[in-house]
Symmetry: D3
Subunit: 250 residues, 6 copies
């Protein structure tokens, strides 16, 4: 997934899985997104169910990312061993932390990933550590005010493929109530700061969106990796619409 | 649930769970439906996960029905022991089969339900077999052409609370391609036949709907228990809309 | 388990598992019961978790029975293939039904059990169909009034090892509120009727008890296979005692 | 799967899954078998894990069969709704039972399958009931002596695609110790009887084999659908070989 | 839960879940405890089953705490996202570690909790980060000798709501065999040291008790948050009593 | 396990579990290995399924090790609480890290293991912290080039029982493609370096092998703890052989 993204300059749109289980994952994988991310940070998804969700996504042919619970080598490596095409690493706040994330994604000599890619070896007979290092995407999340001061250092770390903005957390750290609809000027300036730094450092700018409308706004501004919808939210909203549509007054 | 439905004459609208797992069940339970049915016939849901889904629905305060895989006493009793407020029994084709379904729902002397209501005993300190017999809803599905000839006998069986039309199966048995949108005249006549028989026999007429629009049509016609949306379909459609809405052309 | 029970004339006391999961099963298996029964009829236990519960019981060295959801060959055979030492079959109401239960427990020529004993083959290198036929216990539950009239026929069926009284269901069918404390005269007479018929037909009399006190009463009367405690009830009562013991007044 | 098998006259070789879980299923699906059968009769596999195993097999592109626990409509329909390409139905002993199996596999007018193909609808946008009726394979197991007398009637039932010999059960019913190595003359004669009846009735002859050697024997004789290896047995044998190969003497 | 505890000065008694699964959790939640803690440190409970256990506890209306496996931000945040009302953090040994625990419990500006409260958002439509910061309880465990020297610093950290004594670990670090019955003078002195420090710093003193008797002792001494019973121990003891009570001599 | 290994000087051979689930674990436990290791680093095994796998291994009487995901106290302690006889700790690169691993394995005063051994307490009535400290095996993995420089310091840490070579990772860090067949001279020299250091420091030398052949080579050289086969690889290879053996040409 990585090489193609880096070389094509393409903008991609993703779906987000917070519901545990391989059937919902297959539904998300078949919806037409460019990629689907399984969220093991805020989604209610543990490691026991993750491999089957990645099987379900592989079945649909949609590349799968995993948002790991935290910037820890074991979490990153286990997601990749289970078949993820890349990871989104939350709360990266310094160049040192970004390096740590990158090194967990790459086999030596580029990093320190431990060898044991159980699912990839099953699914790709041409698997090699070199190819894996080329293909595994490493996205770091930029989501606190203090990180903005470290931005140039973070984006200069080789192997940081994507800087992914978490607008809700970034907002909270700026004193704004949590929202994916960025309207407060300071909040917006912070997002734009990440975007311009990405463009300067040739890193793909990514952002978590509230919905397709939000996604279009950021895409027009230059963001290239956009999460446009989350399974649990889609289900909540569409179920509520069904209730309303049926004229229920309960 | 049963007594209130029977006495109030109220029309109710339900949600349908085909996705296994208690988190999706909680989402459906919070959407505002009058009841939610966990489908263990066509949904990909086995008995191991069912009790936790019924816990999730109980948490939301929304009454839970279970569509059992088949008209078998053990399936009906186990769903009730796990906390269902009632069952929808597929493919009931004769008065004898309807009686069998009813008897599995009721303790003696009205039926043959075996005693061991593990979840109900936990959740209702006032539980009694009499109260359970009063409250457990028994819906039988009318979904084949040949059943129409048995309709009066079936609806005359004491304890058949709801006759629930499965339009897709009913259609297939009439030579119509499977659909919840009933337009073919013979198909529509069959649905109307069930409705009028229900009215005659004082049985609640129910029907499986494609969506809220469909639900409104049947409600206006007199149906009183309507399934208006299914989780897997809601997720599929809303995810597809998100993809379209984001202007993806993949 | 069967041969020893039949030949020794020993009275045995069992524990009852209604909670799903292999850890609770191990706790019950280590408590000192002569056997433990996993209840897949009224317990909230499906077939996916059953094999691991039988592993846990095997680990403790305590023989495991399974109460199957219903008198169906597949349910009986699958419990045995997963490692049960015998089955308790609910709601057996005639000699024909008893024969059906027995035949599902025994390989030809004594019965019709299908060959594929996955867990037994792993755990017993000396496994043979003859040995299995000798060792698998078949208990039929006597729990409705009408069954009392069929008792002699049922207990005459070769291979019916135990007649297991379900006092709650038996009581309900006699018009008594569901209880394991048998005090109503007609209720008691029915239980005694099963006991004497067992003694006449050389079948082991068994009974489901409310607690150890109840068990002692029935044992003194002659019952030989007694379930004396259920995991969910033990946990409920002991937790309530802990709350009271701590002087909580909530 | 069905049409191709019926029209090509091809001989196919399958793998057999008795171990629950989607990872082992993926391994079996990638081994190179023509099809893989998930055994929910003798395998320790319940309905909760089945859909994820069928996802895993779909991921490998290997057609998946399911051996259902018993000849019951709900079991057959649920396996198909979860994505199986066909079913193997155990212990079919008469034409009536064969018809029942076939009818559960086919939508009206050929049968009585209820509509709700959740997994097939997701995976095949061209799904139709007609196509499903064409493609779903129905194999009935011939595994008792008495069935041999009904063979012509059974194989004359339209829609019985495969007669699948279970040599172990067939042997037991003939008084032979359970084995997949058929050497006893009466046992062999029974197997040959099924083969010739298949050839006469234009039904695909299938058989459960002990290992590849056994498979070659039956194939040379004319069997066309052969299960050549079972996951649990492969793992047992190869692990034992590893222990021996390492020179362990434990 | 937090504000009420802090403001009321009330003493509360809790139950402890070490058995995985939502049914046991519901039983514990219904027993009458003021709160129930799901132990993911020493209980055999992973993250896949935790959300359903918190659903079960929510169903009972009993506030749920989670003892996290270790003082790591991701563990704390995931427990809260799954619906816990607070956390108990093991092995906190310094003010810096206490701060880290507190910061993981609170959104900015009080802490660094990342935004994505999936279960709380479903269950509380009035959810806000401010309210969450007010309500989420943070208990740090005091359980090593060396920690006693840091006690004043630890209890001075704003947001440390409870200092929870783990008597077994504290004992071991003092050279006493692991026990919840604190009798050794040095052991007792250490516990009293924590109590008096709590009173001085206006932190709620909590302690893990062997049983209700032990709880009463500590409560009389001034402890205000007491775990009085653990599911696995309750089940072990009550099952053993049942065996003894039945007069088994096995 | 530890004391016997250390005192006997015995060479042992192990099996490796990467497939989740207690049935495959039982198969591996019955194969005849001296021990079986459940790999929660590269295997697709989370903490929810681990306790049942350790039950299955305990049932077979084969000592169980767990390879933890990373050198973190919580991971080590939880594996031991669930019943492991010891742990294999990946990527230990310094004496400080080795000490941390050892301290997580031992109760005070030798270490900092927190008390709550749920499974061991159930299975061993003679459990004590002293006995546990004597018996729990601590193996550290040597698998990077830079670690070789720290080898003497690492192996001097009291309580490091085994130095376990991961040849694949060690090779990658030396610029060799990942392989368990060590032929490249620098790669071999590194392995030999670990062996001789072990002999010097009286630490048991262990190594991960490709297969029994590889195991014999290393054993002849002096390695004493050898993993000779992995479940997923055994299944892959034996299934592929079955396909070939059946003459499939697919």
């Amino acid at each position: 997934m990585r090489r193609e993204l880096l070389e094509s300059g393409r903008t991609t749109h993703g779906g987000w899985c917070c519901l545990p289980g391989p059937i919902t994952a297959e539904v998300m994988g078949r919806a037409g997104f460019d990629w689907v991310c399984v969220d093991t940070q805020h989604g209610l998804i543990g490691y026991d169910v993750l491999p089957s969700m990645l099987q379900a996504l592989a079945l649909t042919g949609t590349p799968a990312l995993v948002r790991v619970p935290w910037n820890q080598p074991a979490e990153i490596m286990r997601a990749l061993d289970a078949g993820a095409s890349g990871v989104i690493v939350p709360m990266v706040q310094s160049a040192r932390e970004a390096e740590q994330a990158v090194r967990a994604c790459r086999y030596p000599p580029q990093g320190e990933r431990s060898f044991g890619p159980m699912a990839p070896l099953m699914r790709d007979r041409g698997f090699s550590t070199t190819k894996a290092n080329d293909e595994v995407l490493c996205a770091v999340q930029i989501e606190t005010r203090s990180t903005l001061d470290e931005l140039d250092e973070i984006l200069s770390v080789p192997g940081v493929d994507v800087a992914y903005v978490g607008p809700a957390d970034l907002g909270i750290s700026l004193g704004v109530a949590p929202t994916l609809d960025v309207v407060e000027p300071g909040h917006l300036a912070a997002v734009e700061r990440v975007l311009s730094a990405c463009q300067e450092h040739d890193v793909i700018p990514g952002i978590h969106c509230a919905d397709p409308r939000g996604a279009r706004r950021w895409r027009d501004m230059g963001f290239r990796l956009l999460a446009v919808a989350t399974d649990v939210r889609l289900l909540e909203l569409s179920a509520a619409e069904a209730v309303t549509g049926a004229g229920l007054s309960r």
